[in-house]
């Protein structure tokens, strides 16, 4: 993260970056709104998300002071949505981080090693990439039981090869750069080269992969929760809200619409950030194939 060698342009560059790309700016604004909702959810909630009024079931949008209506137990959908977003977002952040850390580590190790070690690491990554990862996740969560940690750790553990593959390929090209070779010829340790040269060089690519992976994980969480293999019963995540809506499609279509819009909005926000970062990186002459 050091700005050495960049001089004063480092800070200015960083502030200017978002406005280099409409997509990135829009994505950041959208995401900021969601994060505000998460942070100020207790102020914004108009009702207790877990307690319903059975006399006030299936209130339509805007009726009886319910911004987004009520569900089959008379619970306020707006308050439940706010409650669930926090869960879904933190789950996606953690699985993305788990996959990122393992994948980057394996990718760097494979790029650094030679001969047999590299062949074996690459074989492991190839094999892991061919694994039907969501299926493994479904099976593991079915066996371990639903919950925050089983879901997040499992999703992280089955999706890391995405990072490993890209980090490996990028690190190999970076290792051929003159400044890395120079540093090697001075006798710099491999670890120092990895942390000091390769990892910073990977930043633009990693940012893009992180954004898209985060979006994938949001969807994966909602899909698994929808199947009853994700968030614990009762927590109003998007997937659980959609699951609950299924029995009332006739009487209360807004129960389907609200979480759907939530998912689409958030995933679009994150995809925009990914697209924006990718187009900025491409303009700087980096090749990003995702």
């Amino acid at each position: 993260m050091s700005a050495r060698g960049n001089g004063s342009s480092g800070l200015r560059g960083r502030i200017k970056v978002p406005f280099d790309s409409i997509e990135l700016t829009l994505g950041i604004v959208f995401l900021a709104i969601i994060l505000m909702l998460v942070v100020f959810r207790s102020q914004l909630q108009t009702h207790d998300p877990y307690v319903g009024d059975l006399l006030d079931r299936f209130s339509e949008i805007g009726v009886n002071g319910h911004l987004l209506g009520t569900d089959n137990l008379g619970r306020d959908v707006w308050s439940r949505l706010l409650e669930g977003i926090r869960w879904s977002i933190s789950a996606a952040v953690i699985d993305t981080l788990v996959a990122f850390v393992i994948g980057t580590f394996v990718g760097l190790a494979a790029a650094q090693s030679t001969g047999w070690a590299r062949t074996i690491l690459n074989q492991i990554v190839d094999m892991a990439l061919a694994f039907p990862s969501l299926i493994i996740a479904m099976i593991v969560v079915a066996v371990v039981g639903r919950g925050f940690w089983p879901l997040t750790i499992t999703l992280g553990l089955v999706t890391w090869p995405v990072f490993a593959r890209i980090v490996f390929a990028e690190a190999l090209t970076l290792l051929e750069r003159d400044y890395v070779k120079a540093s090697k010829s001075f006798g710099a340790r491999p670890l120092l080269i990895m942390l000091g040269h390769i990892l910073p060089g990977l930043r633009p690519t990693l940012a893009v992969v992180l954004a898209f992976h985060f979006a994938d994980m949001l969807v994966a969480e909602s899909a698994l929760s929808f199947l009853g293999l994700g968030a614990p019963l009762g927590v109003p995540t998007w997937g659980n809200l959609l699951q609950e809506s299924r029995d009332y499609l006739m009487v209360a279509p807004w129960l389907l619409a609200v979480p759907s819009v939530g998912i689409i909005y958030t995933v679009v926000a994150v995809n925009l950030i990914g697209d924006g970062l990718a187009s900025i990186a491409r303009r700087k002459g980096l090749r990003i194939d995702i």
């Binding site: 190839d126 039907p132 759907s260």
Partner: protein, 309 residues
């Protein structure tokens, strides 16, 4: 010679993949749950549990179980389903045609929709029409397939009552699942085709074609389009492979009698032999589709193999 050695390497990868997946499934399943308890039910006595354990070999040391299990996998014997008593592998394979058909329909709709839209967007990306559609495609990309499916069911089955929602027998029941899958896959394909078309429209050979008097239409279809399609073969292959493992939720929603539905039901009953057979079958399918994609890639574009070597 190079051909043989690369085929051997492919075979080696295949064996390592299958060994890896069977090993992972074996230990992951046993580390995380006890199927005997689930099988026996809540009111089972200790003796009953013990006898079941013996019957299924779960009383042996884990390593011995593993060796025994690997031997059986070599014979393609995954044991009998704990739920239905049927042999697990044939049980899974009998669901394969439905999954394959769904993948085929989903992919057909995806390609039919994506190619014209992608080319239209890529040919003139700066005009207003394509810009608006591009924005719509970005939004569509954020729409998970199962959410589309839920909305389609709400609209066409519940509200309008135009289509039946469940099953496999009636051709009309094939429409919604295929469209749901396509709605999820098409935006990505459209964007890649559009990017490829607009990229190849900027190439030197396009300028040459124009300079010798080729019409705009000719330039687009005879020069830019074939080159743009090349870059999408890999994506189409990956999407097809994804459909074998990723259509679970669509199969569940539409009660489509494929591997995904069986997988979901088996996770509910912790049917280990069936789960292991499913993971095995899907790994084989994904590998085969990936290899075929590679072959197709080499056939269409002879440069690929040479660049890599």
């Amino acid at each position: 010679m190079a051909r043989i050695s690369s085929n051997l390497r492919l075979l080696g990868n295949f064996i390592v993949l299958l060994l890896g997946i069977t090993t992972l499934m074996f230990f992951a399943l046993r580390a995380t749950g006890d199927p005997i308890i689930v099988m026996a039910g809540e009111n089972a006595s200790a003796e009953m549990i013990d006898s079941l354990r013996q019957q299924y070999g779960f009383d042996q040391p884990l390593l011995l179980q593993y060796v025994y299990y690997l031997g059986n996998v070599l014979k393609l014997d995954f044991g009998a389903s704990l739920a239905s008593g049927q042999e697990a592998l044939p049980y899974v394979l009998q669901q394969l045609p439905a999954t394959f058909m769904l993948a085929l329909f989903g992919m057909t709709v995806t390609i039919t929709v994506s190619v014209p839209i992608g080319i239209w967007l890529g040919a003139r990306p700066d005009r207003t029409g394509p810009r608006i559609v591009s924005a719509a495609v970005i939004v569509a990309q954020g729409l998970p397939g199962f959410v589309t499916a839920l909305i389609l069911i709400q609209l066409f089955v519940v509200k309008l009552m135009w289509l039946p929602s469940l099953g496999y027998a009636d051709v009309r029941t094939w429409i919604l699942p295929s469209v749901s899958l396509a709605s999820f896959l098409a935006p990505k394909l459209i964007r890649v085709i559009a990017a490829n078309v607009s990229e190849s429209m900027r190439q030197e050979y396009i300028r040459t074609a124009r300079s010798i008097g080729m019409s705009e239409r000719g330039v687009l279809w005879r020069e830019a389009f074939p080159n743009a399609i090349l870059g999408t073969v890999a994506l189409i292959g990956a999407q097809f492979a994804f459909l074998f493992s990723g259509a679970v939720i669509i199969e569940v929603l539409f009660h489509w009698p494929g591997i995904g539905l069986l997988l979901f039901e088996s996770t509910q009953s912790l049917d280990f032999p069936v789960l292991q057979a499913i993971a095995f079958v899907i790994a084989v399918l994904v590998f085969v589709v990936n290899s075929l994609t590679n072959v197709a890639f080499h056939m269409i574009d002879p440069r690929v193999g040479k660049v890599i070597k």
